[in-house]
Amino acid sequence: MRINNKGVLLFTACLLLEVLFPCILTAENVEHENILKIQYGGAWRQDQYLSPTLYDGMMVGLGNEWWQPFSQDSRLGKAGKLDHWQHVGCMDLLFDWTYNPTRSNVLYAVGVNVGWGAHYTWQWQQQGVQVLLGPYLDWSNTVKYHVRNVNKPISLDASLQAMAMAGVSYAFHGKNTSYRLRYLVWANLIGVDFMPDYWQSYYELTEQVQGTVRCAGMWNHRTLRQELTLDMQFPHSTWRVGIAHEYDEYGEKNMMFSHEQVSAIVGTCFHYRLNPKHNFTIF
């Protein structure tokens, strides 16, 4: 399959931008939070480009997430207008294997999700409550492989979406442990999707890429992600457990693409601070 060079360049540029953007904004002399996590759970997939049936199975994932305040060195920072703003980035690698209802076929999917968002926070220190709300840019790509299909085994989910992100967290203390319970939710607002026509094979897509990238919004693409996590800060380490749910559907006319997953999360958090000489200190 020949791949359009412009498409590859655009894809790579967007990916690099997403990955590098948080690095550019990294602030100094403030505490940063980084989480490494794994996910395991159930997955459901519907891809009417490949099959009309609903596939169900299991998924695993590996992810990295970081939370950072904005730099106070900028003009806005010095004016005190970034005091309540934070930014968050994440990169997830997901793999799922799902089966059709008669268990006669398997659909494999490998996905990379990269996201970056900024949010305003309201804090109630004494109660340990924090509420956050802000925009989030999500770049999702999943390649799906349908084992039995002839000449049309592959489908691709690719979308770049502006989302709304909201959350609430509650911090409390035990005898020797500090806890933070946090609920986060993301919902898409507007963006662009890659979507082939119903009758097109990917052989044809290489020749007719026009028309496969479409404007997306809540009228034709709905994404809802939720995450409930509990961070447990022990004297020498911080661990996270939680549950995540994601539902994503998009489509037009008589072709729908849907995906849902519910997974358990286990991860570890560490905090670090960058000093002006860029020494890296974990604590």
């Binding site: 049936t53 008669t102 076929n105 939710v185 026509d197 009758w199 020749e207 729908m256």
Partner: protein, 342 residues
Amino acid sequence: MRKSLTYSLLLLLLITACTHRFEGVEDNTPVGNMECLWQTLDQKYCFFDEKEVSWQSVHDAYLPSVQCIPTDDYLTLFDTLASMVNTLNDGHVNLYSSFDVSSCSTWYEGYATNFNWSAIKSYYIPSYRVAGGAYYAILPNDSIGYMYVPDFETPVSSNNMAYILRSFLPCRGLIVDVRNNGGGDLSYAYQLAATFFSDDQVIGYWQHKNGVGHDDFSSLEEQHLHKKDMPSSWFRPVVVLCNRHTYSAANFFVSMMRYSDYSAIIGGVSGGGGGMPLSYELPNGWLLRFSSVRMFDRDKQSIEGGITPNYLVDDDPQTPQDEIIEAAIQWITNYYKNDTSH
């Protein structure tokens, strides 16, 4: 604080209400499966005009009988749906299940067999070598190379071909036998055909469906044969043998070989299969394969119905020799008689 939390919860409820879980999943009933099959072909099958089939009439004819099939009677459903798709008279339209595969036989019924591999082995090539997907030997007493390609599932790579042609160095002609070759990977057919061309060229056309209507097709798109795919070359007379079971990628190979400067096609009318197949799953997990992309020869003629050879010759199964191979030997002999430059 309380107000913020209330607004957040309301927002979450609003977002959740906007999502619909797994719309449009087809129902796994006999009628649901039939409708899915019918609609898939109605929107994606590429030869309705050429086959002169009224697909709506087929739907109306089969629906009453499908409505009577009990949900657990999968054998009757399979046979009924197989019969329904066989009205298209297309070897590329099949239904695959865990217990059976349907196939259409009407496109080759009534044609001579025109091939007996056991007889060829005993009469012409008692010993032969195998290189990739090709069996090859020099025909005794004739200085003519014989190469049998039973399918295009296995490639005859450029490395294989280099050895095959080296063994045919003393030969004055070559017979490429693709009888009973049911096809396979089209790129292997391109690669083998490139042996008999000196440079890149347009060798055919494809036409994609670009809409759900029976007449919705893209413009013809050129298909190129690339010499770099097969650096080895054969520029002496070559005869391609075909029969009605020469199908799909092998049919396209025959189509390409008609444009070689040194070739002739001998045998029976090839089987056709000039549509690249795609597949789609039915709600019950069966797989439907169907022609979806139309292929044309370099003269923009459809090859779905098969290719008539330059010399129509039928094999007589009562005789030990193969009349089609004999005709090929004769053509190569005549080629040198008629063209003194060789």
